[in-house]
């Protein structure tokens, strides 16, 4: 049985201002990686961040769940709010924050554990559930939401690393979902996958936006065009343009955006 998310047509509801970034500057040591980024991200929408390598899009993504805190020389200025709450405030527990703002990386990185334990790990350390039927429920529903349940339900005890690349990436998405996040950050989630596995992930992203806010960094502009409703173009640490995806890919306002998406960059 497949876990059905609410009907897609009725679920087309954006919630404006889920995440608000205001005047964000990021430095790696003396090098300024992001210049004065101001960006509003709608809830229940997929926002794509595009731009050439080194433009700062991944840096910005990593600001949204304070992953940059793990880099010693990295400093973040400005304000980033999640539901109106400053995520860089002293009172914020980054472990809790990262449960609310989950992340999926470029290379699938399942834990060297069973499929079951890959999913159960997060809920267990966050105290959402312990062993038993309650945890079984979380594992099943997470795998169902990630569209992986039918493929793995008979081998939950096998190692997650034994799955195919595409399955591993969906396992990582299931793992992110298991702690009931509100926002899922995806950094090039399909760049290591073949087109069929990519299509599965894209279909999944489209379904997930019913319940989550998704921000995806991608080099694949066709992918950004396919999966996102909003697209932001980053260039040399600046956010050049953010608009409806349709507008960005048919009629971008800025010459730099146009140059990049039509392959006239540089």
């Amino acid at each position: 049985m497949r876990f059905e998310l609410s009907d897609r047509s009725s679920g087309d509801r954006a919630t404006p201002g889920k995440i608000t970034a205001r005047a964000v500057d990021v430095y790696y040591g003396a090098k300024r990686a992001l210049h004065n980024i101001t960006l509003n991200i709608d809830g229940n929408r997929v926002t794509a961040l595009i731009g050439p390598s080194g433009c700062g899009k991944s840096t910005f993504l990593r600001c949204l769940n304070r992953m940059n805190d793990t880099i010693d020389i990295c400093r973040v200025h400005g304000q980033i709010e999640l539901d109106g709450e400053d995520i860089y405030a002293k009172t914020i527990d980054t472990v809790q924050l990262r449960a609310r703002v989950g992340m999926v990386f470029q290379k699938p990185n399942p834990f060297p554990k069973s499929i079951y334990d890959n999913i159960a790990y997060g809920p267990r350390i966050h105290g959402l559930a312990q062993r038993g039927p309650e945890m079984d429920e979380i594992v099943q529903s997470s795998l169902e939401r990630a569209g992986l349940w039918n493929e793995v339900k008979d081998r939950l005890k096998e190692p997650g690393t034994g799955l195919s690349g595409g399955q591993q990436q969906r396992l990582c998405i299931a793992r992110a979902i298991a702690v009931s996040p509100e926002v899922i950050l995806m950094d090039e989630p399909c760049s290591a996958l073949d087109p069929i596995a990519t299509a599965h992930i894209e279909e999944l992203i489209d379904e997930l936006r019913e319940n989550y806010t998704i921000i995806i960094v991608t080099h694949n502009m066709q992918q950004a065009a396919r999966v996102s409703q909003k697209t932001a173009f980053f260039h040399l640490g600046e956010m050049v343009e953010c608009n409806d995806t349709e507008e960005i890919f048919t009629n971008p306002r800025d010459e730099r955006t146009h140059g990049y998406i039509t392959g006239r960059y540089g």
């Binding site: 048919t250 146009h258 039509t262 392959g263 006239r264 540089g266």
Partner: protein, 248 residues
Amino acid sequence: MSKEHIVRSYSEELRRLTTLITQMGGVAEAQVDTAVRAVARRDADLAALVIKSDERLDQYERDIDAEAIRMLALRQPMAGDLREIVSTLKIAADLERIGDYAANIAKRAMVLAQMPPVRPAGGIPRMGKLVQEIMKDVLDAYIDRNLDKAIAAWRRDEELDDLYTSLFREVLTYMMEDPRNITACTHLLFIAKNLERVGDHATNIAETLHFVVVGHSLKTARPKGDTSSFAVVTPQCGPPAASDQEET
């Protein structure tokens, strides 16, 4: 679109596509010009030439479609490039229709050449001249990406509509004067209608160019001067049919 593509062959393909449109536009212009001359000179040979050449435009359209579809599939164009390529599909279709109208005018010119001349035929070259000016301006605007020129031409379509409406009335009156004119006049009416339609397709091209350059369609509605759909021409006297019958 000042910069070249990083992949040079992409830019070359785009240039080739717009060159095809330019060439096709030139052929379409010549077809309309020749068809109108065939009507004016009552020249059946010239008309036959137009009918024969229509195949060239069909071939251009097939070539442009194939090239545009190939580029859509292989290059996955975005933004200005996407608008450019999609526009060639639309413009090629408009030019192909213009060619069809020219061929139809030529067919009617062949019929008219075998009949005694009728007076309203004098209005056709005037319409033809205006339609050619509009087409020329629109196609030049396409080549130069000159939006002002395209919009000016787009507005002139109203003049063409006015000319058509007045020709329509004239032809109707002439038919009522003498039923023996009806065959020739009906052909004239269709020729005039065809020229009016050529003008409409030329304005379509101007609108498409607007989309290519600006990124959205022309917002204001095109001025409409063709009121012939509402025209009523009542005979001055009773139907001449009764007296005609008495004579025979």
